[in-house]
């Protein structure tokens, strides 16, 4: 493409850039004026800050054992009481949000990458479509929790293995969503024009198709984030989550559940934290969907 550009191209380019920035600004403004997105966003920010500032916020060492204070109820000294090791539950919850955040972020990133890769491949390379989609169908035919449990048990309980197990469990649906939206975008006029102008495959995929398939993906990923936090708790509950002594929201509940009547604070507080975090993510996802994809607001698949 060696066409001589008219002299005012530069200024046109600047115009386009400005327009894009304006669009981005209005997008952000619309997002933050959306009440559920805003509430969800605030919750997520608080959650993230708690995790990042755990060293500062936690009143005690989360693994400090003190057998003289076993199962102490909430008090001025221990706001959320102590657990069966005499450890401060509040400090453990604060540090536990780190594990949830790490698991959530890594699962989202890996699911996003793998899902996009597989979904795009399936929609773009015809002979791979059947193979990829049937394999994903196979993975989706497992009850999700069972697959995650089996994988976590097979790989051994650790944070990394929990991330792997959850990624494998959540990738299929994400890939499907990407594939479906890519197929829709592929059929659209501007792609055909791009082809006609001679844009390369890579450019078309990244510049046009993925950019347009992004909104359903983002919405799905906020949901994967939420489910990952719950799933970590379920894995811990069944003894295949991140192992002690490092706290995770799930293993705090798991350790507290046999004493739920005598020491309700151990299991109840981290359960509430999970519920609030997941609520925040769901609210954000709703807001994102309303704005990115107004046609489909309201409904969401669970993996």
């Amino acid at each position: 493409m060696t066409v001589e550009l008219p002299s005012d191209t530069v200024s046109i380019g600047r115009e386009i850039k400005l327009a894009r920035r304006r669009r981005r600004l209005t997008f952000a403004r619309r997002l933050f004026s959306h009440p559920s997105f805003l509430v969800g966003f605030v919750i997520l920010v608080l959650f993230t800050m708690t995790a990042l500032l755990a060293d500062v916020l936690a009143p005690y060492e989360p693994t400090k054992i003190n057998y003289r204070f076993i199962l102490a109820p909430p008090s001025a000294e221990f706001w959320c009481g102590t657990d069966a090791y005499g450890r401060d539950v509040l400090s453990r919850i604060i540090y536990g949000t780190r594990v949830s955040l790490r698991i959530g972020v890594f699962v989202v990133v890996m699911t996003g990458i793998l899902g996009t890769l597989l979904g795009t491949l399936a929609s773009y390379v015809k002979w791979l479509d059947g193979l990829i989609m049937r394999s994903l169908d196979g993975l989706m035919a497992f009850p999700g929790v069972l697959l995650a449990i089996a994988l976590a048990a097979a790989l051994g309980p650790s944070e990394i293995n929990a991330i792997i197990a959850l990624t494998v469990t959540f990738t299929p649906r994400t890939a499907r969503i990407v594939r479906a939206s890519v197929i829709v975008v592929q059929g659209m006029q501007f792609i055909e024009s791009a082809h006609a102008v001679g844009a390369g495959h890579g450019r078309i995929i990244f510049r046009y198709i993925l950019a347009n398939a992004l909104s359903p993906l983002i919405v799905q990923l906020t949901f994967v984030f939420a489910v990952s936090i719950v799933a970590e708790a379920i894995l811990s509950f069944l003894g295949v989550g991140p192992p002690p002594p490092a706290p995770s929201l799930g293993n705090i509940i798991a350790e507290g559940r046999s004493n739920i009547q005598e020491a309700w604070w151990i299991a109840v507080f981290p359960g509430l934290v999970i519920a609030v975090a997941v609520l925040g993510l769901n609210l954000m996802g709703d807001g994102l969907r309303d704005i990115l994809d107004p046609r489909h607001s309201g409904a969401r698949d669970k993996t």
Binding site: T63, K64, I65, Y67, I70, L71, A84, Y85, G86, A153, G156, P157, G239, V240, P243, P244, P245, A254, R257, S258, N259, I260, Q261, E262, A263
Partner: protein
Amino acid sequence: MAQVKGGELIFVQGSNPPSLDGMSTSSQASRNINMNIYETLYGFSEDIKPIPILAEGVEISDDGLTYVFTLRQGVMFHNGDEMNSADVKASLERYRIVGATKNLLAPVKDIEITGDYEVTFHMEEATPTFLEAFSSPRAPAVIIPEEDGDAEAGKNSFVGTGPYKFVEYVPDSHVTIERFEDYSADTRSDGIDGFGGHKTAWLDKVTFRIIPEPGAQVAALEAGEVHILEQIPMPAARRLEDDPDIKLYENLRWAFTTFIFNLNVPPSDNVKFREAVQVALNMEAIMAISSEGLYTLNHRWQYEDTAYDPGQIGAEYYNQADAERAKALLDEAGYNGEEFVILTDPNIPQHGRAAVVIAEQLNAIGINAVINQVDWPTALNIRMQDEGWNGWTLQMGIEPYLGPVGLIATLASPARPHFVVPDAGLDALYQELIKGATVEERLETFKKIQAHLYEIFAIIKVGDSGLMHAARSNVKGFIPFRFPRVYDVWLEG
């Protein structure tokens, strides 16, 4: 105390019995049920002495090479047949193949039927501790009908001679047994005595319900849906202490909490390092947390004041929490921060809890202790390997109860289950122990073993941990033991 006949008792345990074939398993979850269905020729009395149960008695020759067992007559199996010597021989021959501790019959050369109600064991060599081993309830040498003699492990018809007979097993839900109306009670004694004695089935039916969640177990007991919990978490026990509907039963001498070293890899291959761990540990803190507070501090490798109590030997190393001495020993061992991997599992809660406390205490004296918590089958797999772990937490339940032979057998040659590398000194002492002709001789040997264990520091005794049972207060006659004896228990009102 007027016993009441009838009713259904619901007993709760946490896990499925791996097998209802009495001889083929050593699991506690199976023993709970099986010992109400099956019986052995000999078993332990309340004070852990071998007593005849299905046997009338035994004549041991002076050279210790022949054992003539006479059988009680008129004992009926649940299938309606009478027990005779052919059944006994068939059962024991099967035990040699599928018995979970079949080695206990290794000293027996052959079993001969010498009468309708008499079998004779011909021994390879004199083994003074044979009758004790033969009475062991770990994987009991139960007597089953001759027809089941060829059945594969787990494939027998679950027919025994006990006061209750098997009805049904729905895994993850329940096992049901019901009163065996033709039970031939042992009239030689007045009441129950350990695994034997005069047993009476008052209840029509007993259901062993499988409830995995301890919290749900307690909830079911409080709601009156079930009658007895095999184990109640201690915090719940404390809460229900004064509840008139609930009665608690302490079973203080239930298990040893132990910590086993891998002698094959650094840093735990160094005896000075292991000694440092021994003196560093605060056993009181470990036991308080791992047992939830139901424990006895005890450095002995036997329960205190039992026949083989070795006294104060080793006490000077126990519960020291001596960081200075430990650090000096670490220096002596040349320890410089190698990783010390503590293997544990969450399935037996005491294991995981002990590991967490041990790791914290070791980190405090500068040992780079890390916990590798995996599920139980994985833990059992890893600890059999030469490498990949340094220490392992283990609750020893039935072994300490069996006395010194049963306990030390798991530590002596050949290598494993517990020691990856056997210790020659301990092996020699073990041989001396099983050859000891009298209790006094064996006690002297056991004292040497106790001293030796505190020289090699290959396994650490953390403490004695108890088990708390809980029952509805209308359950009468329940006496805590190594398994729930649901005979001689009745429901009031």
